[in-house]
Amino acid sequence: MKPCKAKLPDGKPCLNQADEGQEYCPFHLADQIRMPKKILAIALPVLGAVVTGVVTVLVKFVANSKRK
């Protein structure tokens, strides 16, 4: 166990201890993950919708060209 590397908003060091092999305490590690996780959580459905749309358009296009 070693002290967490993170700094608090007032500039003081974090009082928590980091786990073996980590530089930040569990709270700050989770805090650092929160934003990328949020972005991924928003991006994934958007990406899914875009991919679904593209696939739908492609399928329709192929189907139309076959009919012709």
Partner: protein, 327 residues
Amino acid sequence: MPNKDSLVIQPSGEVISHTDSQSDVIVFDEEKRQKLIQILRQIPAISDVAKKLSKGKTYKAYISPEVLKRIKDGSARLAKRDNGYFAANILDVETGRTIHNASLVEVTPDLLNSLNQLATQQTLANIVHRLEVIDEKITDILQGQVNDRLAEVESGIHIYEQAVVASDPDVRRELIVSAIQKLNDGRNKLIKSTDFSFIDKLPRNRLGMFFSLNWDIPKHVQSKAEPVWKAAHAIIKASRYLVLAYSALNQPDSLRVSLEQVKSEVKVFQDKIGKIVHWLPPTSNWRESLTTISQGVLPNIRDLDDILQKTIVVEFQPKEIAPPEGV
């Protein structure tokens, strides 16, 4: 300290020094100090010393013949305090070191037992005070929340409170025994039933946290930690009243056994709470109380073992010890 003399007395019955503050001492609160003074009044040597002090004379101490010989030939002398009174220790004239402590030879084993008993009670009172402080820290933050975990412990507390006001000593004793049973049961159930398993399931690295199904892990920990925290609160409350109850029955050894029985389980409890602390925001108002819990929920049993090694400090005014004039 004008007009106030202090003696430092060891349970072995020796006056060893005076007034110096020591870290390993038992200092009595007012109630126990009064009880102690009652005991001191029964010790003729102290009573005599107090009588002389009130007349502004010197201490009357019981000194061994060899030391008396040295005092007579001038190689040793009685220590003198700042206020001009002689103290009960004898100094080497050349080196200035204490060579002998005047013994209270008239202290009977019965009185020493009472003194030890009082020291035990004071130690227990100190333990209760420490638990009160921890309890307050938690109560302040848990204010307004219903602690459902307290139910069984609270019934033990109620029985103890009924016992305290009972006038019949037999009824009182019976109620205290029943309170002890309830408190022990309640505390054991809490220790056994509290679920910490969530702590070991928490991800400990970035990747694990990233793919964890919990959106906000610290928030999840906080919600899971609440029942654990409430259980710790109830355990502290139960321990506090157990100390009081065993103290009322004057059974410190039973208290010691009761504490030892749950020691290892409570240690696990404390360690897990210590882990929870690292999941909390450093600014969380839970932090201090959880850290305090992780440092020790149960009173330190060693406090009871160390009583005989500790020095008892009693400050008293001569008039409190000396019988009224003419007696």
